[in-house]
């Protein structure tokens, strides 16, 4: 017999099984939840956590949720320390005790083996409504949490297998849609699947063996993370970025400042110097900011790193309480996940001198509109988040153009545009155009991802548009890197039947008369490297495809393209590029 005290092969198999349990929990949610935000947009995460909240394994479908469950798990453990029993179930959404967003409600179930808690099975999903002043939760006018949502601090909803009927009723009496109650039931069902899987593992292999190998997996994760971090040169790096408009003060600007120290296979991120929280909802809770940090770092490192406790060990974060990325009670914070855009900009900028071959130029910052109203053709109320209109381009990297029409960095291509034909079945919207936006990509040796132009006619009654986002101010373009140019701006306009053109602010609520035409351009990503080093043939290919005008090719890239043949004029290009050479 081989020595089983520490068996790396068993550890590999254990890792595979833990991951499989979280995937099975995820599939249970996909099958049993009813809101399209959960089963279509997949805005949820499932996970298994240790007795002290250590991440054992997770399955997330949207990156911003990747590390947003653990802080809530720790809050539940702290609140009920010593008072946790088999059959208990806890709920949580409170952004001031580990929640990342009010609408993201978490469910926790302790897993007992031989009378002690060995793990927590957890699910967290974005609910279609969670009370507050505005249906759906996005309230650009909110100045405190109660105008956004019902707060759920760690809450025992099932005690020793008995549903706390009065608590349950109180909770859902404060939520608009009955579908939310069903979706929470589905999430509770998901934790049962997790509980069963973990209990089976313990029975099959014994607690002692499983726990020793979980520790081994953490060590292996840490080792991989340290090896990855050690590939970043040691030093101290500073990056800044600006958030525009708090929804209350026209022209307001808010600084994010991060100081990153890389040393000895560890990384420290310190946000001292970041501006204080705003009066409106443009604030992030700590859990949301922490998740944004992780998703940005994972994009700079090996994308296959496991998501467990070990990988967090060499990462140290300090976000001063009361700043825009760690807002204090009772701030409004629903814009917090969207701050991942400017937040990741600051990290990319800081690390650009250290690892220029790994960072990307800026991603387009999201500007989105949710539409609610009456569908006169089907006689029912409808809600539509115009996903297809808001997805801009990602930033370019060394050796790689940005991704076209990918959308906000916190979903990184996990959020799908609606199908055109199904959109017209589900809403009274008639699409007129949805195409790549020419000249939107930031120029560079590697160009940014393309933005998209959308036009649709709104044939609904009593329609309200809730606008939230960024990227409409000149400096909020997706930034270029190492000589690359910025991407194009976001813009929304609504042309009413009376011929009036309404351009909402980046956080706004507008009334939309029936028959209005909505137009949006989602901007392109930033370019990487000097555009005059881009292979002229690639510029000509974009010109032939109508993605760049011959004027822009000349101006931005110094490539002379014959407007008739769309071929590169080599001699004129060489001359042009010489002339554009900086003195």
């Amino acid at each position: 017999m081989t020595d089983r005290s520490l068996d790396p092969v068993f550890a590999s198999v254990l890792e595979c099984r833990l991951k499989a349990i979280t995937e099975e929990m995820g599939l249970t949610l996909l099958r049993t939840t009813r809101s399209p935000i959960l089963n279509e947009a997949r805005d949820f995460v499932t996970g298994l956590y240790g007795p002290a909240g250590e991440i054992l394994a997770q399955s997330e479908y949207i990156p911003i949720l990747a590390f947003a469950l653990q802080p809530a798990c720790r809050a539940v453990i702290d609140a009920f320390d010593g008072d946790v029993h088999p059959g208990d179930v806890f709920l949580h959404n409170d952004v001031f005790s580990g929640g990342n967003q009010n609408n993201d409600v978490a469910v926790f179930r302790p897993v007992f083996v031989d009378g002690r808690v060995v793990a927590w099975a957890a699910t967290k999903g974005h609910q279609a409504d969670i009370g507050g002043a505005q249906a759906g939760g996005y309230n650009p006018r909110a100045t405190e949490v109660w105008q956004e949502a019902l707060r759920i601090p760690p809450l025992r909803i099932i005690a020793r297998g008995i549903v706390q009927r009065d608590v349950w009723t109180l909770l859902f009496a404060n939520v608009r849609l009955p579908i939310v109650e069903e979706d929470i039931r589905a999430q509770i069902g998901g934790t049962v699947v997790g509980e069963r899987g973990v209990a089976e593992l313990y029975q099959r292999h014994g607690a002692e063996t499983v726990e020793r190998h979980i520790e081994y997996l953490f060590d292996a994760g840490e080792k991989r993370m340290r090896a990855e971090l050690a590939r970043i040169p040691e030093g101290t790096w500073v990056g800044e970025s600006t958030v525009f408009y708090d929804g209350h003060h026209e022209g307001s600007r808010h600084l994010i400042r991060v100081t990153i120290e890389t040393r000895g296979g560890e990384i420290r991120l310190d946000y001292t110097g970041t501006d204080p929280q705003t009066v409106g909802f443009v604030n992030a809770p700590y859990a949301s900011s922490f998740s944004a940090i992780l998703l940005t770092l994972l994009m700079l490192l090996d994308p296959d790193l496991p998501h467990n406790e070990g990988v967090l060990r060499p990462i140290h974060v300090h976000i001063p309480p009361g700043c825009i990325l760690n807002a204090g009670f009772p701030a409004a914070t629903t814009f917090g996940n969207t701050l991942a855009g400017p937040h990741s900009d600051a990290i990319f900028r800081a690390l650009a001198p250290a690892v220029p071959e790994r960072v990307s130029a800026g991603w387009n910052r999201m500007l989105g509109m949710t539409v609610t109203g009456m569908d006169p053709h089907r006689g029912r109320r409808y809600v539509d988040i115009l996903f297809l209109a808001l997805k801009g381009g990602s930033g370019a990297l060394a050796g790689c153009d940005g991704y076209d029409h990918i959308g906000l960095i916190n979903t990184a291509g996990g959020l799908l545009s609606q199908d055109y034909e199904m959109l017209e079945v589900h809403t009274p919207h008639r699409l007129l155009r949805h195409e790549y936006q020419p000249d939107s990509a930031g120029a560079g040796r590697w160009r940014g991802g393309l933005g998209v132009g959308t036009e649709l006619e709104i044939d609904g009654d009593e329609v309200t548009g809730i606008v939230f986002g960024d990227g409409v101010d000149e400096e909020a373009r997706a930034f270029g890197l190492l000589g690359g140019h910025p991407g194009s701006l976001n813009r929304i306009e609504v042309r009413t039947p009376a011929g009036e053109v309404v351009v909402p602010r980046s956080k706004d609520v507008i009334a939309i008369p029936r028959g209005s035409v909505f137009r949006q351009t989602a901007g392109g990503g930033g370019g990487y490297g000097d555009p005059r080093e881009r292979v002229p043939g690639l510029v000509a290919a974009d010109a032939r495809d109508g993605l760049i005008s011959v004027e822009a090719a000349r101006r931005e890239y110094g490539v002379w393209i014959d407007p008739g043949t769309l071929a590169v004029d080599e001699a004129r290009t060489a001359a042009l590029r010489r002339r554009q050479e900086p003195a």
């Binding site: 590999s12 997996l217 292996a220 090996d302 990918i406 291509g413």
Partner: protein
């Protein structure tokens, strides 16, 4: 003598199974010839002729049927060697093909690029026209615009034209005009029209499928031209049929018109083969697994029907034609073992492929593969591999596995055992994907095992999942070729009608059903299928009002003829409950699509039988083999599987050697040979 031949062209090997009116089947395997795959087909037919002791022309004259499974279109898409296509589409929407709804499959990998669209933007030409979701024309087709676009495509020298307009499923008039103009303007071009190929709502899937069809149409046509010319010249006068992604076969003319229907046809014959092999055991619920050199395919069959999907993907392009829901993972005999930065052992998805192949093939491979581990663990015999035609090099395998054993601080054998455990766990995860994740308990299914490497790993996979029954057909390594000869002709038809159930117009439904039935019967008639051999079935795609995904529900012929949806509603609630764990009987239902399947039942050879016999004569000594569950080596008796007669019983631990595969029967299992020579393994 009348022969029937199943020919399955794979990436590495072309498999043949020959059946005759009387007598045992004959199998053959020849290397595939990627430059012109029809060459390898003819080479194999030549081998079969020789084995029958006949000259090729004479032999082919006696072949009445060749059923052909080919990956020629699949490979064309995977390698990008497809036709130059132009796309005509509604003005304002020319980029849907490239956007793919804006998905990036690898979310943390910023270097992950989108697949190159099969039509570049400058050949995706917008045409002014617009049909509403109701089917009403909002903007008439601008003929001058259309003609100008066709002129541009003609000047660009496209070989194929794809036509996909918004809501053409509701009103195909504009597409039909565009199609006839295209045929006139570009004589000889392959024209693919969305409303003919897939008249179904969802623009994203429809445009992608229509373009895929145009991209492979000329490729398949050229291949069939070459193949039929070669076969004809060599003396073949029989019927040629082609395997499709939906698990049925089609005449070459049908396949040419809908070339994309062959795109996922590679493993599509497996469920049909499984059905035949499982039938003697009274089993209609089973899983087929096929473990080859680089990939592992799993398909679920419940109550005799293979799981289907209309949401397939090929090379990350959406594919909307109905196809068997086959789940593929990168695990096979050639899968390479490696250590990650945290020193955890991983297997695959990288594979040593056919060249250089596993280290033990002695063709220059130095990386440790699954096959190398199998050899070191005694599961494979160095002398008997491929019937002794390839002698395996154990020293080379040892050197390769040593490269991961050393950093792990383990013996070579322990490292090899670890490789086995990891790859079995990942294949088991693949099986979970088609069972647990779709609401089925895998323990209720028989595991039917194909592929050369499958029977070595079957018991390990079963142990991971708690399965207790395994069936290994004697010709497991040419599993799909056997299935080809057992498949029916099949046409899938669809029409979209989006309506809440209570507002559904019965006359309209009756009309749709009549039209689908007429189309299905016409298609079978064109195949030459007699009325008595034709069978039609119907189904509806249904969802709860407001849901985004539909569920297919069967629609009984009598109900369909009456346009009566009440039975569909009942079955939808039941099916939803079974699949998703809940039903909402008071929530209104919405119809999305009506489907029909037209089957032309083919005449099928019955499975050959083997003579009864005991295990006594098959004994071939013993060797030391790793037993995974016991975590140790055991001396296992070896039996010659070719000599195990019907009814022969063995008790594990035992090894059964065949020319093209090895069956490992661990201690907790017993084996019995059934009357067709398949091996049934059961956990004691």
């Amino acid at each position: 003598m009348a022969y029937r031949i199943g020919v399955d062209v794979g990436g590495t090997f072309t498999d043949f199974l020959l059946r005759r009116d009387e007598g045992p089947p004959r199998a053959a395997k020849t290397p595939s010839t990627p430059a012109d795959l029809s060459e390898g087909v003819l080479a194999g037919l030549g081998e079969l002729a020789a084995a029958e002791g006949k000259e090729l022309g004479l032999f082919l004259g006696e072949v009445k049927l060749i059923v052909h499974g080919t990956t020629v279109t699949t490979n064309a898409v995977l390698t990008g060697e497809v036709a130059r296509v132009g796309l005509l589409t509604t003005r304002g929407f020319r980029d849907a093909l490239a956007m793919r709804r804006g998905i990036r499959e690898a979310q943390y990998d910023n270097r992950y690029t989108a697949p190159t669209p099969l039509v570049p933007r400058w050949l995706r030409l917008p045409v002014t026209e617009r049909v509403e979701v109701s089917g009403a024309v909002r903007t008439p087709l601008d003929q001058a615009d259309l003609d100008a676009a066709l002129t541009r495509l003609s000047e660009a020298g496209v070989e194929a034209v794809a036509i996909c307009f918004l809501h053409a499923w509701a009103n195909s008039a504009h597409e039909v005009i565009a199609e006839s103009r295209a045929l006139a303007a570009l004589p000889g071009a392959y024209v693919s029209r969305s409303s003919a190929l897939l008249p179904q709502i969802r623009f994203n899937e429809r445009v992608s499928t229509t373009v895929l069809n145009a991209a492979v149409g000329p490729v398949l046509s050229r291949y069939l031209d070459r193949l039929t010319a070669r076969l004809g010249a060599a003396g073949f006068r029989g019927v040629l049929l082609l395997m499709q992604s939906n698990g049925g076969v089609a005449a070459p003319t049908v396949a040419r018109a809908a070339a994309a229907s062959t795109l996922l046809s590679g493993p599509a014959a497996a469920p049909t083969a499984g059905l035949a092999y499982a039938a003697p055991h009274g089993v209609r619920d089973f899983l087929t697994v096929d473990m080859g050199g680089t990939s592992f395919d799993v398909c679920l069959v419940r109550d005799g029907a293979a799981a289907m999907t209309a949401e397939g993907r090929i090379a990350r392009y959406p594919f909307g034609l109905p196809a068997l829901a086959i789940h593929t993972i990168g695990a096979g005999g050639g899968s390479i073992g490696w250590l990650d930065d945290g020193d955890l052992l991983r297997m695959g998805p990288k594979s040593a492929g056919a060249t250089p192949g596993p280290a033990c093939y002695g063709r220059g491979g130095t990386l440790p593969t699954c096959t190398d581990a199998d050899l070191l663990l005694g599961s494979l015999s160095a002398e008997r591999f491929l019937g002794g035609r390839l002698r395996l090099d154990a020293a080379a395998a040892r050197r390769a596995v040593e490269t991961i054993a050393r950093p792990l601080g383990r013996s070579v054998e322990a490292a090899a055992a670890g490789m086995l455990q990891v790859i079995d766990a990942s294949m088991a995860a693949g099986v979970r994907h088609v069972t647990v994740e779709r609401g089925h308990d895998p323990r209720e299914f028989l595991l039917v095992v194909g592929g050369g490497a499958g029977p070595i790993h079957a018991a390990g996979i079963a142990a991971e999942l708690g399965l207790t029954r395994i069936l290994v057909p004697r010709n497991s390594s040419i599993f799909c070729a056997a299935g080809l000869l057992l498949s029916d002709l099949r046409h899938d038809l669809v029409r979209t009608y989006v309506t809440p159930f209570e507002q559904a117009d019965r006359d309209r439904l009756r009309g749709m059903v009549r039209a689908l039935a007429a189309d299905g019967r016409a298609a079978l008639q064109a195949d030459g299928v007699a009325g008595s051999q034709a069978s039609l079935s119907f189904a509806c795609d249904v969802r709860y009002l407001g849901q985004y995904h539909e569920l297919p529900v069967s629609w009984l012929p009598d109900e369909a003829a009456e346009g009566d949806l009440s039975g569909v509603a009942k079955r939808f609630h039941e099916g939803h409950d079974r699949l998703y764990g809940y039903a909402l009987p008071d929530t209104p239902l919405e119809l999305v699509n009506v489907r029909a399947v037209a089957l032309g039942l083919t005449e099928k050879p019955s499975l050959p039988e083997v003579r009864p016999g005991t295990a006594a004569l098959a004994s071939q000594g013993s060797r030391r083999v790793w037993a995974a569950e016991e975590r140790g080596y055991l001396e296992m008796p070896v039996h010659d599987g070719e000599r195990l007669g019907a009814g022969a019983r063995l008790r594990g631990p035992v090894v059964v050697e065949l020319d093209t595969t090895t069956v490992i029967v661990p201690p907790a299992w017993r084996l019995e040979t059934d009357r067709h020579g398949s091996f049934l393994l059961e956990r004691v």
